[in-house]
Amino acid sequence: MENAEATDESRLFLEFNQMDEILRLESVSKTFPGVKALQDISFDLKRGEVHCLCGENGAGKSTLIKILSGAHQPDEGGKIYFNGTEVTLTPHSAIEMGIQTIYQEHVVFDAHNISDNIFAGAEISRRGILQHKEMQRQTEEVLRYLKSNLSPDTKMSDLTSGEKKIVEIAKGLVFKSNVIILDEPTASFSSHEIDTLMDIVRKLKSDGIGIIYISHHLEEVFEIGDRVTVLRDGCKVNTYPIEGLTKTTLIKDMVGRDPATFYKRERVPLGEVILEVENVTGNGVTDISFKLRRGEILGIAGMAGSGRSELMGVLFGSAQLDRGEIRIQGNVVKHSSPEDAIRNKMCFITEDRQNSGLFLTQTVSDNVFVANMVNTRDFVARPSDVLRTGEKFIKLLNIKTRDARTRVSNLSGGNQQKVVLGKWFNTNGEIYIFDEPSHGIDVGSKQEIYQVMVDLLKKGVAILMVSSDMPEMVSMSDRVIVLKRGALAGELAGNEITEENILTYSIGD
């Protein structure tokens, strides 16, 4: 028994010489159709080191992780070395080498217990019979190593998101880990859970595991990082040792885009206040207050997971408002469902067009007609009226489609987005929420959608815009509020709206 434990222990503690290089990338690039996601990246990781990756949304961090985990293959010419030998990474070979990637979203089987999750796909069996006791024992051992009090037969669905993250780390350790990649591990963590995770990372580090740590929270980076690499628009800007590094330097490196990517927007004189939000709390956001005027675009900035979309859900009635008040044109409103919000002249252009904005197998006119049904009292909806409504918005928004009876699934991304716009135009709404308005559409359509937004403003409409696209945020917004961990981190107006200021609020402390 003692013997067995000893061998298992040694499986956890890999023999290593401090500061040996374990992973090296040389001029790695990655091209997707039409996009250069990574350009000439060089990067290295030593044993027992925490190497942090920083950058805005879309800077190329996720692509880099996916190359390291073998999910994406780099373009020709890039080289990857593992322990000094050149390798090709596939999902299988990456795991063989002990490169464990722990993604932001939990990849777990909620209905199963911890040990079943850890051994899923690699069950220990003897003559075809599962060795539950052995798996439980090994699970227990790793959990103790991670200083966790969880029991191996706890169901995953009973765990908090912090505990789930620990199970995912444990899964990597049960087998073999030389490198652990943590992608935004602390999103939706409580502060206590963050401390626990920091302790775990320190322990892994002291046992010689190389850690790549991606976080939007600079305080975490400064707490446990040894080196920091900054990416911007798919390129590496710099790699710094943490000693002597300041937040200002980091943020300066993360911003600084080509001014050509900024859209020159026409300004519209502001009108009366149309929407007032006071101490709104619920759905993961706390105490948010702001005012919105007619003719104004209020940008809602913040890193992914900061509660931007969650706030929009509360305003639009698709999530519950726990506390606080929403006033539209001075009247207190209660939105218990989107139906109420649409009646109160709100429109919501969601980020995930295909899943929450469109009826893909239905026609263009069906899609355009659907939302305004709330506002009319007729029982009858004649097909010819529906068709005419569709044709009207095809003309108005210049939607490229064969006719109004074409299924939306046959349209391109930009034209699908215009169909969503048509759906809301038809309701004559006055408060528009644009969640990532130009997400996944080409440059030409982007300009058209920006123009549509400005045209709306001229008609006295007010716009709330959630965006991770910095040039879009800076060039389109009249004012910006920045969210961090579900709370208001700052407000910017006029010349204060710069990438640097937005970033300082969203990732600083």
């Binding site: 639009f316 698709s318 469902s337 989107p338 139906e339 919000a341 649409i342 009646r343 919501f348 969601t350 899943n355 929450s356 904005g357 469109l358 009826f359 893909l360 197998t361 239905q362 069906d366 007609f369 659907v370 939302a371 049904m373 709330v374 009319t376 007729d378 029982f379 009858v380 909806a381 004649r382 097909p383 010819s384 529906v386 068709l387 005419r388 490229k400 064969r402 009876r405 074409t406 299924r407 046959n410 349209l411 391109s412 759906k423």
Partner: protein, 361 residues
């Protein structure tokens, strides 16, 4: 005014064309089936006899046989377009027939109150199921399967596992509206009972509801993408509930008509009705996944499935073969529908590519 009228007319023309196109596959398979049967009859008789399969008396026969499952299939179409399913309709129909028969012959409630009691209980029971389906995330398949078994239990308890014989109190539903008319081909008496007309009236209403009302459009939206429907201001829960309530009403009406035909309330009355109605609906092109389907297709499915058994009898095939034929026809009709859909989608994509190429040139 004139201009508006012509554009509207044009729009309507286009619409009816596309509707026809939607059901083209199943219609052509059905017509092919009819042609084969007629041809076989002609060959067997050496061309000397008018094929009895398409004689007026036989067509009316088929209509009488399909009226009850037909009415329930109309409700099933709406449920399935909204993304649900209802396995309980057969046993619910048995239960309603037993309640109504008991009301008339044992509890002496009178004919009209008994009918209302039967239909009312169907509506209540479907509403309960619809409530659970729309308010929880449990699959409609499971809930209605449970409902089916529960209804069977209630029905058996009510009638002590015995049949409830009536004295023809519902005869008014089966009177012949065209008494005395003779079939010119076979010179047999023609029969057209009122319930056939009720079936057509319900089919017409169902079709109009789906195409010409906001309610109908919402059913499609909920079935296509419930999340997007919710964000577009549709009360998805109540929509889901309402289709089951409508189904309750239709099952109630159908069960009373079935009782009128058989004159006995018995547990086997609604047996296999759920299988038959679901088969009719899917033959008619409605997708199990929701969002797609229409009443015209279902009507073709109803008459198609109903005429298979009849045709086999005409050709003196043993009843064992009928199951085989029914099963094969369901498989052929549904997969042909899917194949033709894929072809049309492929064509649409190609024409779109051609269009964008043209545009970029």
């Amino acid at each position: 005014m004139r201009a508006e009228e012509t554009t509207e007319k044009k729009a309507n023309d286009k619409k009816s064309f596309s509707k026809r196109f939607e059901n083209r596959t199943v219609l052509s398979i059905f017509l092919g089936f009819v042609a084969i049967i007629v041809l076989s009859q002609l060959i067997i008789s050496g061309g000397s006899q008018y094929p009895t399969f398409i004689s007026p008396v036989n067509i009316l026969n088929i209509l009488q046989q399909v009226s009850v499952p037909g009415i329930i299939a109309i409700g099933m179409t709406m449920i399935m377009i909204s993304g649900g399913i209802d396995l309980s309709v057969g046993m619910l129909a048995s239960l309603v027939s037993i309640i109504t028969a008991l009301g008339i012959s044992k509890w002496n409630l009178g004919v009209a109150p008994s009918i209302l009691l039967g239909i009312g209980s169907a509506v209540v029971l479907e509403t309960i199921m619809g409530f659970i389906i729309s308010r929880t995330s449990v699959e409609p398949f499971i809930i209605t399967l449970g409902g089916m078994i529960t209804f069977q239990g209630i029905a058996l308890l009510l009638c002590n596992s015995r049949e409830v014989i009536m004295q023809g109190e519902l005869g008014f539903l089966t009177t012949n509206l065209i008494a005395g008319a003779k079939d010119p081909v076979t010179s047999l008496d023609l029969r057209l009972p009122p319930y056939v007309l009720i079936f057509f009236a319900i089919a017409l209403l169902g079709g109009l509801l789906l195409i010409y009302t906001k309610y109908g459009r919402r059913i499609y939206s909920v079935g296509t993408n419930p999340h997007a429907a919710y964000l577009a201001g549709i009360n998805v829960k109540n929509m889901r509930l309402s289709v089951y309530m409508i189904q309750g009403l239709l099952v109630g009406i159908g069960a009373v008509m079935l009782l009128a035909r058989i004159n006995t309330g018995i547990i086997t009355l609604g047996q296999n009705l759920e299988i038959d109605t679901i088969a009719m609906v899917v033959i008619g092109g409605t997708a199990l996944s929701g969002g797609r389907g229409n009443i015209v297709g279902t009507l073709i499915g109803i008459i198609f499935l109903g005429s298979i058994g009849n045709a086999m009898n005409m050709l003196r095939m043993p009843s064992e073969v009928q199951f085989l034929a029914k099963g094969l026809i369901i498989i052929i009709a549904v997969s042909a529908g899917d194949i033709s859909l894929r072809i049309s989608e492929f064509r649409a994509r190609r024409s779109r590519q051609a269009m964008t190429q043209k545009a970029s040139q």
